[in-house]
Symmetry: C2
């Protein structure tokens, strides 16, 4: 169960925008402009397939680690789910993510792996992501992986059908799973991209999809208009408030804020239909740590932000604060007998109230606990919100033309090295 | 060695501002308005003291873990240094940070501790930080710590002289180290706050201070005017470009970007001398991962950002990319025979060039390698830059009045619970 709270009152004008956005999303779904809408329903098949054909194999059963080789949309989503659901999923296999081509990090992670106890998911939508294919080569080399022979059963490829990576997989008899062509990387966590590694690791991905599917139903049945209202508000005020802070209370929510930053930033930073640069900048912060870091700026800096509070009402495990008196620090003893989780929750509520009192537009997302259903719903919530904002900004929410130039320059740099 | 590159050309007007800022900082140092300027010199005494009186004790020698209990300015700096210097400091004791009152995280971390192999640094400038005193109570309770008896030699207190935490330490005969009164939390990493735990853990803190001291000398001898130029540029353009992105290439630089976010955000988000809200918003990103996340927004979104690239020219360990041909993905084979570090570096250069071509003001900080001297210099660089920007924004860079309201509300919430 997730409760959504919006603290602001919105003008009537915004209601028209919300209506417009709703029909835009209906059309996107019907015409297949983006395929993410249908993933909560369709990806159940992939879960069933992995469960039926992979989980029973001795290779999978004997493995204690799932490696994901992928970057950006190919890793952030599964990483976020792994981080937040691990404490409520005893027995889940360890997941290790090879994303950044940072030699120190790669070496440290490789040292923790045993080839014969590890499964490898190579994930790239286009099939040709340079970081991913490079780290895959490094792993083949360092671990002595044999894609043609002994290790064929432990390597899985997730990519677009017909991509060069798919063709590579076919050439070696590796198992492939496909990402629908109309699902972009940052909207792909509920496709095979997230579903395959998370199911292999032992997460309840059916429940994750169920949570997303519930919100899908609610939204298109007009029982979740708060999403339209919030998206319309953000777009209406985007010039005064170009920054959207997600203040998440709970250290294990950190990777989820990173996933949100990608989704929001890469979708909504665009040149619009009129040729103008538009965009909303996402910021992820963790409470209560960042109350000691970023809060001052929100409170007294320019009024250029909105703030969303994300919190968990009940932690699956908690700690009672002992009834200890620290001499001379008795003023803090009011906390004794309460729990650490209560302190975190009260920090959230207190910060929320103090920011609201400053006139900053605030809203909240309150999870009743940590569960796959809640996390699935939360993921789908942010995807819908992104689509609503993109529709009202009059941009293509689903492309990323701005990242191509850097890729060309990169290739050129190595060609120049080769020529030198 | 650090090389600083600034890509923009600045107007003559900014030169006057830079001069103004310089004399402002001279005055701050001379009048002791902030004491951080003198830390690189003065904190050497603390290192010597820890080396002479603590490192030889059997308690410290037998310990393999240093716990820091602190939040915000009391932990971010040491955490950042630990993360980036660990790969070049074999034999350093493990460091574990208790910051966030998140029950899951706290329980996970406690499970990894053995009381008799651990040192504890309790750090709070005011002495009454609720998260810190609470987590200290939890550790006393869960680990059976005896501050009065067996564990007196393994608990160290770092706080303001005369604070309630200092008085607590005296009551139990615990060793205290002091933070100068005129050094705020976010400027305190080179005080006892960072120096004591990092020296206990085995880092070369003298070299860290030496790097900072070198830049101190360069700056006040006018050999580092690029800092003035950059600060003046940021302030001159802050309304059009209210966001400053630090794009750091290297996963182990992540905590350093968090330290920067606190320093910059909490110092520069203020009500200025004219009663107006001003502020620059810091964003920390990691390359190449966030090229797949945030880059699109920088490239095609509004022109509201500056971007600083932070990179490491030579990694202490690297990986040669094997000469493997992946059938059908031959287009990526241009990378074979190069190193993973080279790929990361080329990603940085390519992204930098593509952003610069968009007319975004860019600059770069290039470390020749990972060393304590370089990290000390980098820390001091950002502290000076923050002071320059604060001086030109006409604000008090060193206070944080905006965070008090939340603390009052928090206390009230628990009092209300008690009354209920």
């Amino acid at each position: 169960m997730i409760e959504y709270r919006i603290d602001w009152q919105e003008a009537a004008e915004a209601k028209a925008a919300a209506e417009e956005a709703f029909y835009h999303l209906v059309e996107e779904q019907e015409k297949g402009i983006s395929g993410y809408y249908l993933l909560p329903e369709r990806s159940r098949m992939i879960v069933e397939e992995v469960k039926a054909t992979l989980l029973p194999t001795s290779t999978v059963q004997e493995a204690d680690t799932v490696v994901v080789i992928g970057i950006g949309g190919s890793s952030l989503g599964a990483k976020a789910v792994d981080r937040i659901l691990r404490p409520v999923t005893p027995g889940a296999k360890r997941m290790v993510f090879f994303e950044n081509p940072d030699p120190l990090e790669v070496l440290e992670k490789i040292e923790t792996l045993e080839r014969e106890r590890t499964l490898f998911c190579v994930i790239s939508k286009s099939g040709g992501t340079i970081e991913t294919t490079t780290l895959y080569k490094v792993l083949i080399d360092r671990l002595g992986l044999a894609p043609d022979g002994a290790d064929r059963e432990r390597i899985f490829v997730i990519t677009d059908e017909g991509s060069i990576l798919h063709r590579y997989a076919d050439a070696h008899g590796l198992r492939s799973f496909f990402i629908p062509a109309n699902v972009g990387g940052r909207f792909s966590v509920l496709s095979a991209v997230g579903v395959v590694p998370l199911t292999l690791a032992g997460y309840d991905v059916c429940a994750l999809l169920k949570g997303a599917q519930k919100l899908h139903q609610d939204f298109f049945d007009r029982r979740a208009d708060h999403i339209l209202q919030k998206g319309a508000f953000y777009v209406r005020h985007w010039r005064e408030r170009p920054m959207n802070v997600l203040f998440a209370y709970g250290t294990h929510l950190e990777d989820l804020t990173k996933w949100y930053v990608q989704l929001w930033g890469e979708s909504l930073g665009k040149i619009d239909a009129q040729g103008e640069r538009v965009g909303l900048t996402p910021l992820g912060h963790i409470g209560s740590v960042d109350q000691h870091s970023f809060l001052q700026l929100i409170m007294e800096g320019p009024r250029d932000k909105t703030v969303t509070f994300l919190k968990i009402d009940r932690f699956p495990r908690d700690i009672t604060i002992p009834d200890l008196r620290l001499e001379h620090i008795e003023k803090n003893d009011y906390i004794n007998g309460h729990s650490v989780g209560e302190l975190l929750d009260a920090e959230c509520e207190a910060t929320w109230e103090s920011i609201r009192k400053q006139g900053v537009p605030t809203d909240g997302i309150v999870l009743d606990g940590i569960s796959p259903e809640n996390i699935g719903e939360l993921i789908f919530y942010y995807e819908l919100l992104t689509s609503v904002a993109g529709a009202l900004l009059d941009i293509n929410t689903y492309d990323q033309p701005g990242v191509e130039l850097g890729k060309q320059i990169l290739r050129q740099k190595f060609q120049d090295k080769g020529d030198a």
